[in-house]
C-alpha cells in the first residue's frame, strides 16, 4: 500500500514539469477546454445534432488527456533512464504499475468537472437534478477507463518509444469513434464495431442518457461495460509490462527492447 501511494504521488507530481502550476494548467485545463469548444462549435455549424450532443460528448471526451499522463508516467522511466533501477528493485510490480494511474483518476475527474462547469455556464447545457449522479458516475467511469488505456499505452511505449504520439493517436481515435462527435450509426459497420472496443463509447452514451433525464439504472449497464473495458486495458498493460521485463532480463537488453 505504501509503495502504491508513493508511486502514485511522485509519478504524478514529476510529470510534464508539473512541479510548476502553469504547464499543468495549460495542458490539463486550457487545452482540453479549447478542444471541447472547438468541436462543439463545429457541431453547432454542422447542425445535424443538438448542441447538447456535442457538449456532453466532448465534456466526457476531455478525459482523453488523462491517457497522456498515465502513459507518460509508465514510459517516462525509460526516457529518464530509471527503468533499470525500477526493474532491479525487489518491489512487487502491481502497486508500482497500477499506482501510476491512481492520482490521474482524481485529476481526470477534476478536469471533467471543470469541463462540465464550462459547458453549463458558458454554453448553457442543462443537466436535470435527477441526472446529476448519473453524469458524475459517467465521468468517473470514463476517467477510470481512460486510465486503463493509458497504462496499456505506457507499457507499449517501451517498444515503440514515443508515448506522446501513441496517446495523441488514442485521443483522436476516441474523439472520432466514441460517438463524442459523430453518431455511431453514421460510421461504417466495421468502424462502428471497433468503436465498441474503445473506452468512452459507453460512458458518452450513458452521460447523454442522464443529461436527458434518465434514471441511474438506465445507463448502469453501459457504465459497467466501460469499467470492464478499462480493466481489460489496464490488465493488458500489466501483462505487456511483465512480458517485456521478462524478455529484457532474458536477452540482457533492458533499454533496447
Amino acid at each position: 500500500m505504501r509503495l502504491f501511494t508513493v508511486t502514485a504521488f511522485y509519478s504524478f507530481r514529476a510529470l510534464f514539469r508539473w512541479l510548476s502550476p502553469m504547464p499543468y494548467l495549460c495542458f490539463r485545463a486550457l487545452f482540453p477546454l479549447a478542444q471541447l469548444a472547438f468541436f462543439a462549435l463545429i457541431g453547432t455549424y454542422g447542425g445535424s445534432q443538438p448542441l447538447s450532443f456535442y457538449l456532453v460528448g466532448n465534456a466526457i471526451g476531455t478525459a482523453t488527456t488523462t491517457a497522456f499522463g498515465v502513459s507518460q508516467a509508465v514510459a517516462g522511466e525509460r526516457q529518464q533512464g530509471t527503468l533499470s533501477y525500477l526493474l532491479a528493485a525487489p518491489a512487487p510490480r502491481a502497486p508500482i504499475f497500477f499506482g501510476r494511474a491512481a492520482l490521474h483518476v482524481a485529476d481526470g475527474m477534476i478536469n471533467i468537472f471543470v469541463a462540465l462547469a464550462v459547458v453549463i455556464l458558458v454554453f448553457g447545457l442543462r443537466v436535470p437534478v435527477e441526472g446529476i449522479v448519473g453524469v458524475i458516475a459517467s465521468m468517473l467511469v470514463a476517467t477510470i477507463a481512460i486510465c486503463g488505456l493509458g497504462l496499456l499505452l505506457g507499457a507499449v511505449a517501451y517498444i515503440v518509444l514515443d508515448t506522446a504520439i501513441l496517446a495523441n493517436f488514442a485521443m483522436f481515435i476516441i474523439l472520432l469513434l466514441s460517438g463524442a462527435n459523430v453518431p455511431l450509426a453514421e460510421l461504417p459497420g466495421v468502424v462502428a464495431a471497433i468503436a465498441q472496443g474503445i473506452p468512452l463509447t459507453r460512458s458518452v452514451a450513458a452521460a447523454r442518457l442522464y443529461v436527458g433525464g434518465a434514471s441511474l439504472d438506465a445507463g448502469a449497464g453501459l457504465l459497467l461495460g466501460d469499467l470492464a473495458l478499462g480493466a481489460v486495458y489496464g490488465i493488458a498493460g500489466f501483462v505487456v509490462f511483465n512480458w517485456l521485463e521478462t524478455r529484457a532480463r532474458r536477452e540482457g537488453r533492458l533499454e533496447g527492447v
Binding site: 469548444a37 472547438f38 504520439i165 472520432l176 462527435n181 459523430v182 453514421e186
Partner: protein
C-alpha cells in the same frame, strides 16, 4: 543579402530533412489533420450548403498551423537539447535568419497537409472535390504559407527564454483554429471576439483560401485578404526580429542561454 539567403536556404534544407523523420511533426502534418478532417467531414456533411472543399481547405490549414505553431520553439529547443544553442547564438550568422530558414523548411513540409486533405475528401468520402479558382487558390496558398511562417517565427524567440514554452503554445492550437474560421465561420463566435480575428494572419489565410477554393470571394475581396495577410504577417515578422535581438541580448547578459 545573398549570404543571408544562402544561410536560410541551408537551414531550411537541413531542417526539412530533420522534420521529415520527426514522429511529432509527422503526426502534426499527417495524422492530426486526417482525424480532424474525417471528424469534421462527418459533422458538417449534413448541411444543405455543404461544400467538401471547405473542409479540405480548413483541414489543410489546421495541419499547417499545428506544425508551424510548435516548429519555431521546437527548433530552438532542439538546439538546446543537442548542445548547439550557444554555438549558434555566438556564430556570426544571424540567429533570426537561421531559425527563419529552419521554419521555412518546416513550412514546406507542412504543405503535405493539403495533399492529405484532398485525399480525405476525394478518396475516403468520394466527394467530387472541385476548385473554383485553382490559380488563385495556389497563389493564396503561397501567401498563406508565408504569413503562417511569419507567425511561427514570431513564437520562436519565446523558447530562448522559456524552455517549456511548447506546453504554453499548446493552448493556442484550437483557439486559432476557431478564431481563424478554418472549419466554421467566425460569425459563430461572440461579437466581441470577431474584431480580434482580423489581427491574425491565419484568419486572412482562411479567408483567401476558402474564398478562392469556393469562388465565393470576388477579385477585390481576394486582393484585400492578400493585403491583410501580408500586413499582419509582416507586422509579426518585424516584431519577431526585434524579439530575437531582445531575448538574445538578455540571455547573453544573464549567461543562461542553455539553462533558461
Amino acid at each position: 543579402m545573398t549570404a543571408a539567403l544562402r544561410i536560410a536556404a541551408r537551414s531550411a534544407w537541413v531542417n526539412f530533412q530533420e522534420v521529415a523523420v520527426s514522429g511529432f511533426l509527422l503526426f502534426a502534418v499527417v495524422w492530426q489533420p486526417l482525424f480532424v478532417g474525417v471528424t469534421t467531414m462527418y459533422m458538417l456533411r449534413h448541411r444543405a450548403d455543404f461544400d467538401p472543399m471547405y473542409v479540405v481547405v480548413g483541414t489543410a490549414l489546421s495541419g499547417i498551423w499545428s506544425t508551424l505553431l510548435f516548429a519555431g520553439s521546437g527548433a530552438i529547443s532542439h538546439e538546446r537539447w543537442t548542445g548547439t544553442l550557444e554555438l549558434l547564438a555566438a556564430s556570426p550568422a544571424s540567429f533570426f535568419v537561421v531559425i527563419g530558414g529552419k521554419l521555412a523548411g518546416t513550412t514546406i513540409f507542412s504543405l503535405g497537409s493539403l495533399v492529405l486533405a484532398f485525399g480525405i475528401g476525394a478518396v475516403l468520402f468520394g466527394y467530387p472535390v472541385k476548385i473554383a479558382e485553382p490559380g488563385l487558390l495556389a497563389l493564396s496558398l503561397v501567401f498563406a504559407a508565408v504569413a503562417l511562417w511569419a507567425t511561427g517565427v514570431f513564437f520562436a524567440p519565446l523558447a530562448i527564454l522559456w524552455r517549456t514554452v511548447g506546453v504554453f503554445l499548446l493552448v493556442f492550437e484550437y483557439p486559432v483554429f476557431a478564431l481563424s474560421g478554418f472549419l466554421f465561420p467566425v460569425l459563430l463566435l461572440p461579437n466581441w471576439i470577431v474584431p480580434i480575428t482580423n489581427l491574425l494572419p491565419p484568419y486572412w489565410a482562411a479567408v483567401a483560401m476558402h474564398g478562392a477554393a469556393s469562388g465565393d470571394l470576388d477579385t477585390p475581396g481576394l486582393i484585400r485578404a492578400w493585403f491583410f495577410l501580408f500586413l499582419t504577417g509582416g507586422v509579426l515578422l518585424f516584431i519577431a526580429h526585434r524579439l530575437f535581438d531582445e531575448v538574445l541580448t538578455r540571455a547573453r547578459r544573464a549567461g543562461t542561454l542553455a539553462l533558461s
